[in-house]
């Protein structure tokens, strides 16, 4: 449309963003996980106008009629001067499934958190990541003590292949979360080759 100016240089060099997704069912410890390792208190923003905008474009409706909001939380880890790692938690309720495209777009990997009391809550996430071929790791949140089932049983219940790592971790422990994330990044790296 116009070329009134040549691009002005940025005042700071922007780091390369790398994104991981933290998924799982309702109340399994996603926000706790992000908060345990993020440099900032997990931030929350309202999302979903994308949805209303897209819908109104297609259907000629005014956007205010289709607005719904969802709290989206995320955290940041500065890796080095040039790379920032972002952790995005998926909303727990199924009705916000439409956010998943946005959340996973451009992600390099995901941690699917499982509470062994309610293993099937994570099926939606596992299905979704398998479908979009996003490398993922299943992390069993220990919730005070030993999981109710053996790793073997959990693997069987989830029907995940041997290539999907299964780790035990504690969502409240920084180093435990770090190790779970390391597993995700290593899995992402392996999937490149």
């Amino acid at each position: 449309m116009d070329s009134k100016q040549s691009p002005s240089p940025a005042v700071r060099r922007a780091p390369t963003p790398v994104k991981l997704v933290i998924a799982g069912g309702f109340g399994v410890g996603k926000t706790t996980t992000v908060g345990a390792i993020s440099e900032i208190t997990p931030l929350t923003t309202e999302a979903a106008m994308t949805v209303a905008g897209a819908a109104s474009d297609q259907l000629g409706r005014t956007p205010d009629k289709t607005t719904t909001t969802v709290a989206l939380d995320f955290g940041v880890i500065t890796i080095d001067e040039a790379i920032k790692l972002y952790l995005f938690g998926t909303p727990g309720q199924d009705r916000f499934g439409f956010m998943w495209h946005d959340l996973t777009f451009g992600a390099l990997g995901a941690l699917v958190i499982v509470d062994t009391e309610r293993i099937d809550d994570c099926y939606a996430a596992v299905d979704y990541f398998e479908q979009i071929k996003l490398p993922f790791v299943v992390g069993i949140n220990m919730f005070d003590g030993k999981p109710k089932h053996s790793m073997q049983e959990i693997r069987w219940a989830l029907n995940i292949g041997d290539h999907v790592p299964l780790v035990l971790f504690d969502a409240r422990e920084r180093l435990s979360v770090r190790d779970a994330l390391l597993e995700v990044v290593r899995t992402a790296r392996e999937s490149l080759t």
Partner: protein, 132 residues
Amino acid sequence: MVRPFLDDTAQVAVPARAPIDPPAEIRPYLQTAGRVRPLGDLELEAQVVTTALGRAELLHLKFEQRDIVALCLIPNSVAEVAAKLHLHLSVARILAADIAAEGYLSIVRPDFGGRSRAETLERVIRGLEAIS
């Protein structure tokens, strides 16, 4: 994918006819001068950083434009811009893209900046290992 619009109508009670009263809160599309398109799918983690022009013009900018340009003197992701300025995510996206089109912001999308994905992942691994 579930169609968001269908999802909304299925889950949210929306009156068949909109009430005549004006909306109680400022609707996001007002803040974006009537634009509702999400403008490309600017990633949540895309980095927004003020340009030299933006810094020079900062005091002449208004409202959210000024807030965003001031905030992004230090790079921030689109998601951070939304959260820190209490904007709807898609409003932050639209505003960032618009302000960038005017030359006050530069946006770095996650294409690994010429570095290979493998090298980026290696650096992420080293960075995480260094956390104690």
